[in-house]
């Protein structure tokens, strides 16, 4: 992946200048950075993302101006630059290109990201370092890690994130205790976004600490048939904004009905397009699949458990990372349904 240091330095310099300009002259510079993204974003998802953003910013009162200005003022510049570059360029441009070439050659689906559920006790934990090494070769440079009280070795996971400076890591904690451990940790790096767990009744205290440390962070909440409407309510969204969370990730609880998931996703898309809140809400599963659909024409998702076994797509009993390489696992579990365009 790292074969274009000169081009990457040139692009990173433009991103860095864009961020500095926003600090000096927010609204104009935000619009200009988005326009530049449309003009030069060669990845398909990147283009879709920036076109949607441009449309939202046409409203002078769009709360996204406040959201971006707040991020620039409150997050350490290197973190903003690194995460923006790793997601926007390394994943959605370079990674997407590598993925499409590999898919075309091998007739498989390669996901743009991998979701890893580390909140399960295991005697043989997955080697994240090895997984990311293999993933980067396939063009996968974004990883969602779910950690909690049952995570075997959190420090090793953080070290692996540190070792892969060109990838982006979204670290979701799933309980209050882990929220606190991660928020207090100094071992969080500029390529890592921390997402503590909250609920419609209790927002985690970690937000204030992360804000003080100028980290990039968001909030994750698990919804189901009963509470979905509450998470989409004005009162809840306002409370998330008040607590200073710039991102909200909604995750379906296990067994949540597909119809509820579809409803929540539709509402999230609607909330985003209205641009009323200085907050970027995400329905994690649908949004991950949507990005994949745009990159690959065919939606796919890969979820692995802490021992490397397949969670999604369904495990037939043999597929497990660690025994199989990532490339072999993907080839066995994720054949393409249609031909590549």
């Amino acid at each position: 992946m790292d074969n274009q240091p000169v081009i990457k330095a040139a692009i990173r310099n433009v991103v860095s200048k864009g961020i500095r300009d926003i600090r000096r002259d927010p609204n104009r510079s935000i619009r200009r950075l988005v326009d530049l993204g449309i003009q030069f974003g060669r990845g398909r998802y990147q283009h879709t993302f920036f076109t949607d953003a441009q449309s939202a910013l046409k409203k002078k009162q769009s709360a996204y101006y406040d959201l971006v200005t707040s991020l620039i003022r409150n997050v350490e510049p290197k973190t903003l630059e690194t995460l923006g570059f790793n997601v926007g360029y390394m994943s959605w441009t370079q990674g997407a290109k590598t993925i499409r070439a590999y898919e075309k050659e091998r007739g498989v689906n390669v996901p743009w990201t991998i979701l890893l559920d580390f909140n399960h006790p295991t005697d043989s934990p997955i080697d994240l370092n090895q997984l990311v090494n293999e993933g980067e070769k396939l063009g996968i440079t974004a990883y969602f890690l779910f950690v909690g009280k049952q995570t075997t070795d959190l420090d090793t996971l953080l070290s692996a994130a540190e070792a892969h400076g060109s990838s982006a890591f979204f670290l979701f904690s799933v309980d209050e205790e882990t929220n606190e451990i991660l928020a207090r940790s100094d071992a969080l790096f500029s390529n890592t976004l921390l997402v503590p767990r909250g609920s419609q009744t209790v927002l985690p205290a970690a937000g204030a600490l992360l804000s003080e440390k100028k980290r990039m962070f968001g909030l994750n909440c698990e919804y189901n048939e009963v509470n979905a409407a509450a998470y989409l309510s004005d009162a809840f969204l306002q409370s998330v904004v008040r607590e200073g969370y710039p991102f909200l990730f909604l995750l379906p609880a296990p067994g949540c009905e597909p119809a509820v998931r579809a409803y929540v996703y539709d509402q999230i898309v609607e909330i985003r397009s209205r641009g009323r809140y200085p907050l970027f809400p995400v329905e994690l599963i649908n949004d991950v699949q949507q990005v994949d659909h745009i990159i690959s024409n065919e939606s796919c998702m890969l979820v692995l458990s802490s021992d490397g076994s397949l969670v999604y797509p369904a495990n037939t009993g043999t597929e497990r990372f660690g025994i199989l390489s990532l490339a072999t696992l993907i080839e066995q579990a994720m054949p393409r349904v249609r031909h590549h365009r």
Partner: protein, 186 residues
Amino acid sequence: MPEANITKRALGAALKTLMQTHAFHKISVGDICEQCGMHRKSFYYHFQDKYDLLNWVFYSEFMQLLDTDHQSDLWTYLRKICDYFAENRQFYINAFAIEGQNAFSDTFNETLEAILSAYFRPEIRDDEVREFYCVFLSDALRCAIVRWLRDGKPASAEQFVSLCRRTVDSSTIRNTASQSAGKSVE
């Protein structure tokens, strides 16, 4: 192309046209708007001032030179930049002549330093030495580019960049860097 980019391009094209015949300090925002038939309000929606527009012209056209599909080393890229400067010779002669707080030279140097730093990172591991070397080299390259642009009978971009490359690659400069870096240069 989105409407916003069309407006900005029209303003950029107007500035480029005016700078063919006028020094930058003699051009006002009003002149730029008159040149392309736009309202001042449109100008200020996109740009803070004429310096902002000049930098946008450079960055947006400079980004077009990036070929993310292929491996591109420093010299291939510098050759593209110099070809582009040659095509816009008078515009950049005037741009490099701007002095003071908003000097275009600073914008260009910053870009060049970032690229040089990435290029020399594997060879010069010591951050302090590499930073000094890249600042020094970007000053030198910028001065050479300005001199080349102003030359009445300039060499082609290919010849010019080839000479720059031979100069930088020559053992004299590399050895100087190595000696000053001591153990830190591998």
